[in-house]
């Protein structure tokens, strides 16, 4: 799949706004997830101190990233695992294909992982002639439908039970649309895949450098299945997703569970270090960790470095008023919401995502919600500055309009003339005092009153006379 979805931003945005089920599903999920997060934060107490601590842990790791990646790789190697550092998605996919080929594997099960979506691993494995099964319930639904995720935590948020029922029925299901019954069907079907798979592939919430371990945070248990049943396990991690020791792991896992789903801890937090120990009879016999850069290193040392603090909890997405209206697919990236608007242009270029930093009201709710204190709305403003000043990629119409405004507003004569002309120039597009045509990007979602016939100068003159 890769990080990028198809179609232009304006088309995707309109598709989102015109989809009432999606909008209803998104707003109710947002309300619920935001509510449980606030409750979980309140229950914990001293939330701000936890945010401060989480921020300093993440900053410390980024400042010493070379050391901690060195330590992690040394320790995984000592515990029998192989470590491959991949600069590009192609390198990562090539290595994983080689491992799969060397095991003569045909059946692969995966646990939910954003970074493998990012590098397009499933497509690469299909070229290798393998069956790849996504085992997270939401991801499986999307895979059966060939649909991209619309939320980091709840990837199938945009589908209702009837849509899931239809998808499962096409796959041989004969039950009702009751979510528990649908879930049991997934359990039965996927259990066969878990037992058949020669290779399991996971992402990584946080690797633990000091212990040479990879940590997964899940609720369904598929992460445990994927790392306990197949003989060979491959974990793929974004290079910044690690912590110094179990002590920091504990702090961040706590923040992740509470921020993402409002749970004190999710049902399963699993760490695994290299291969199974001598004397153990389950767990992987062969383990590979693939550490992916994919343009992350280019963010280090820049004004955007703090975005690498992200722990992928989706808190920012769950409070974003723009996401609420347009949904996840509109962002055109597997990373949606405020974090997507900051991250996607950095990982995949401004050419593809120059609209995203503008898909924000800059209300700052994202920054306030972030458990690791990434100043998200400030980074969005910084993106806008770079787009306009350095990349000169602001929309043509906007550049002309801004130039026009600069000329007009610097001359009192021109400004006065423009003010008087405005109501007449806009009248063909108006109805009952509101502009309705010509500026859909604005008027589809907000009112735009026609400029008043009374100019500011007239108003000021009258006011002066009255006094």
């Amino acid at each position: 799949m890769g990080i990028r979805l198809d179609e232009k931003f304006q088309t995707r945005r309109k598709d989102g706004i015109d989809n009432p089920f999606m909008r209803e599903a998104v707003s109710s999920a947002q309300d619920r997830l935001r509510g449980v997060r606030l409750y979980a934060a309140e229950e914990l107490g001293d939330w701000e101190a936890f945010r401060d601590h989480s921020e300093e842990i993440r900053q410390h790791v980024l400042e010493h990233l070379d050391y901690y990646l060195y330590q992690l790789s040394e320790n995984i190697s000592k515990r029998g695992g192989h470590v491959f550092f991949a600069e590009t998605p192609e390198e990562a996919n090539r290595y994983i294909r080689e491992v799969v080929r060397s095991k003569d594997a045909k059946h692969i099960v995966k646990a939910k992982s954003m970074v493998t979506e990012e590098i397009g691993l499933n497509e690469a494995l299909k070229e290798e002639g393998c069956t790849v099964v996504e085992s997270d319930l939401g991801e499986w639904i999307l895979q059966l439908d060939n649909d991209p995720p619309s939320h980091i935590i709840a990837p199938a948020l945009h589908k209702d039970r009837n849509a899931v029922h239809k998808t499962f029925t096409a796959n041989g299901y004969e039950g009702t649309n009751d979510p528990t019954e649908l879930g049991r069907y997934a359990r039965r079907e996927l259990r066969k895949d878990f037992l058949k798979a020669e290779v399991g592939i996971t992402g990584c919430n946080f690797a633990i450098a000091e212990s040479g371990a990879v940590g997964l945070v899940t609720n369904e248990g598929n992460g445990r299945m994927v790392t306990s049943l197949p003989d060979t396990v491959i974990s793929v991690m974004g290079m910044e997703r690690l912590v110094p020791s179990y002590e920091e792991f504990e702090v961040l896992v706590n923040m992740l569970c509470r921020s993402a789903v409002g749970q004190r801890l999710t049902s399963y937090i699993t760490t695994f270090a290299g291969t199974r120990a001598v004397g153990e009879i389950d767990g992987p016999e062969e383990f590979h960790l693939v550490i992916v850069d994919n343009k992350r290193s280019g963010i280090l040392g820049t004004q955007f470095q703090s975005v690498l603090q992200c722990i992928r909890c989706a808190s920012c997405i769950n409070v974003c008023p723009v996401y609420r209206h347009i949904g996840g697919h509109a962002y055109g990236s597997i990373y949606s919401g405020p974090i997507g608007a900051v991250l996607a242009p950095l990982l995949d270029g401004y050419e593809n995502y120059k609209e995203l930093p503008y898909a924000s009201s800059l209300c700052g709710a994202c920054t306030e919600a972030c458990p690791v204190k990434i100043p998200l709305h400030e980074l969005l403003i910084e993106h806008r500055r770079v787009i306009v000043e350095e990349k000169k990629q602001s929309p043509f119409v906007e550049r002309i309009a801004m130039k026009g405004f600069a000329v007009t507003s610097s001359s009192p004569l021109l400004f006065g003339a423009a003010e008087q002309m405005a109501p007449f120039a806009t009248s063909p597009f108006t109805n009952a005092g509101q502009i309705e045509k010509g500026l859909p990007a604005w008027t589809d979602s907000k009112d735009l009153p026609q400029p008043s016939k009374q100019t500011v100068r007239d108003w000021f003159k009258k006011r002066g006379n009255a006094e």
Partner: protein, 231 residues
């Protein structure tokens, strides 16, 4: 254990250091943090208060808590197995509980490292898996299973029902205390922590369909904690 390979590390780390405006630095950095709120959570709670929190949170995560003394453990398990109605049971040995085996009509087997294929097959077909917790957290009603010889990663996962025996002595306020112990096993480079750790809080679940909670997705559908007061 043979060490694994490490590929492409040097250039990768160089690129990172360059971006950070320095050379690669492999001296262990000092970890100086200004904040440490995790030690204060449930700091002054008494044993009874910890138990109370554990019970309350377990209920919230759809998990039954049954309490007993070790002399009644077999009987407690027998009743629980009857209630669950399982036909096949698999359990793990543990030095802390010398001899126990519930008298039940269901077929009962031990996880046995000397019979790997058989043990794995039994875990796949068992209805109930019985484990003994290495630690438990009051705050989140979590049990901890260390993967080590003689213990299994899968008998708390594959069966429809999971019964976790929890010696009361392993109950701590929260994950902070266990994380500290695990780190202590590795911090001098000994790498003595288990190759696998499972922190389990109740049954498997998902909210992927319309945000409705489905209890029991891939892992156990029902979980019971048997808290043994005198162990």
């Amino acid at each position: 254990m043979n060490p694994g390979t490490i590929t492409n590390r040097e250039d990768f780390l160089k690129r990172i250091a360059n971006q950070l405006g320095r050379d690669v630095d492999l001296t262990p950095p000092k970890r100086v943090y200004k904040h440490r709120p995790q030690d204060d959570v449930l700091k002054d709670a008494s044993d009874e208060e910890l138990l109370e929190t554990f019970r309350m949170v377990a209920t919230r995560i759809h998990t039954d808590v049954i309490e007993c003394e070790s002399t009644h453990l077999d009987e407690t398990l027998r009743l629980l197995i009857e209630q669950y109605g399982g036909q096949a049971i698999i359990a793990e040995h543990d030095a802390r509980i010398k001899s126990w085996a519930p008298k039940t009509s269901a077929s009962f087997d031990w996880w046995d490292a000397t019979r790997p294929d058989e043990s794995r097959a039994l875990a796949v077909k068992a209805d109930i898996g019985i484990t003994i917790a290495d630690a438990a957290f009051a705050e989140s009603a979590t049990i901890v299973q260390y993967a080590k010889p003689g213990k299994s990663r899968t008998i708390s996962l594959l069966p429809h029902d999971h019964i976790a025996i929890i010696p009361k002595s392993v109950l701590v306020p929260r994950m902070t205390q266990t994380a500290k112990q695990l780190s202590a096993l590795d911090q001098d480079g000994d790498l003595a922590s288990p190759h696998g750790v499972n922190f389990i809080s109740g049954p498997s679940n998902s909210a992927d369909i319309e945000m409705n909670l489905i209890v029991g997705v891939h892992g156990p559908v029902r979980v019971a904690y048997v808290l043994v007061h005198d162990l």
